[in-house]
Amino acid sequence: MTSVDTTISLPATPDRREAPAIDVAHLVKFYKKTRAVDDISFSIARGSITGLLGGNGAGKTTTIAMIMGLVLPSSGRIEVLGHPMPDESTEVLGRMNFESPYVDMPARLTVRQNLTIFGRLYSVGNLPARIERLAADLDLGEFLDRANGKLSAGQKTRVALAKALINQPELLLLDEPTASLDPDTADWIRQHLATYRKENGATILLASHNMLEVERLCDRVIIMKRGRIEDDDSPEAIMARYNRTTLEEVFLDVTRGRVQEAAS
């Protein structure tokens, strides 16, 4: 597995607004009596890759869904690219995109048809050329005219990523982008994400269970547990603080409640 180049290349014409890509303050989400997200606050700088780490039920998916506007917060404030969500979602939805294992695309339509539909929804100019470019970048050419339902898991993930990149988003939200992929394909996806960020100055927020992925790809890690933020720093700083050599060891310390002991 190769390492990923995470050098940041800012866009030629930076956005005039200085607002962070994502700004979340005192975010709370209740599902009935269950507190899925419990008063979290964080800001994500433009052009960065941030990993949202946590076990099952930590609140990662709910947090990302709230940022996307698919779930409404119970309280708190979310700003995306300087616009409050969901009130001004129409201002930013065309500038962001996402990939998640919880969604899929129509199985009977071909990959090209699906990408064409989403390209039109995002008002992508010169769409055929954009699809061809994505097909080349993500190696979709072989199955571009095959029905989405007939693809393997790895192929579907690449198609989902192509859909997420169709509008060249400034902000990319990824929920488990390499789940159920073999190590080679997963590494290949990570490489592509790093290249995309470098070439476009895009901001990426990804939720993952894969510690190695986060360690190699992300500038910053936010560790969540039971809806709260347990730690927030660069992977190196977090590992140093817990006196561990891998994020996986840190993650186990946090999830198993050995935080105080390890940090001390």
């Binding site: 599902y31 996307m68 939805l93 065309g94 996402f98 919880y102 899929d104 129509p106 929804l121 995002y122």
Partner: protein
Amino acid sequence: MLELLYWPALQIVTWGFLQNYISQNAGFFARAGGTLIGAVILWDILFRGQLGFSISFLEEMWARNLGNLMMSPLKPIEFLISLMAMSLIRLAIGVIPMTLLAMIFFGFNLYGIGFPLIAFFCNLIFTSWSVGIFVSGLVLRYGLGAESIVWTLMFGMMPLACIYYPVTVLPDWLQVVAWSLPPTYVFEGMRSLLMEHVFRADLMVDALAINVVPITISFAIFLMLLRSARQHGSLIQTGE
């Protein structure tokens, strides 16, 4: 259990009223002039218009594509308009062959009705979209567990819309309810046209005016249920 009771109850009520009507009108069959076939076709426009709308919506749910759409710049009103367009396409595929069969085998030419057919069609399709928008909102909010309402709700209108018999067959108090439904005006208008050769434009205008209410309410309810779905996290739990 509810569904087991629902269909037989509706059938007996509908055809029971028809039986009453036939018994009260000795010359019915001589004067009927294709009203039953016309009623069947117009009912199909109403029912399949709603099904076309709802199935197009359900297909997005089954495909787990709704999250992609709701996260895109697509506005709810644009999404609903696209479902309306899909319902027209599905309707055309289903109903046009049906009208041709009626023409070939029973000599009933629906298109011979002319301009009134446009008025009938518009009023029926507006009602079918109202029901389609409402039930899609319910499925959006409550998930595929609420799917059965897609297939059953329109049938609740069947006995009251007086598809196969005139409104006068109903008890007085039920006639008030029947006249609150736009399809009732269409089916009454169809009988007037086919049996008395009179196009009741007043009925069509009334139906159109009444149609404004359900379509507005259903759209408002859809937006309310969409918001509720976002509050309850239903949009990230959709799919088979």
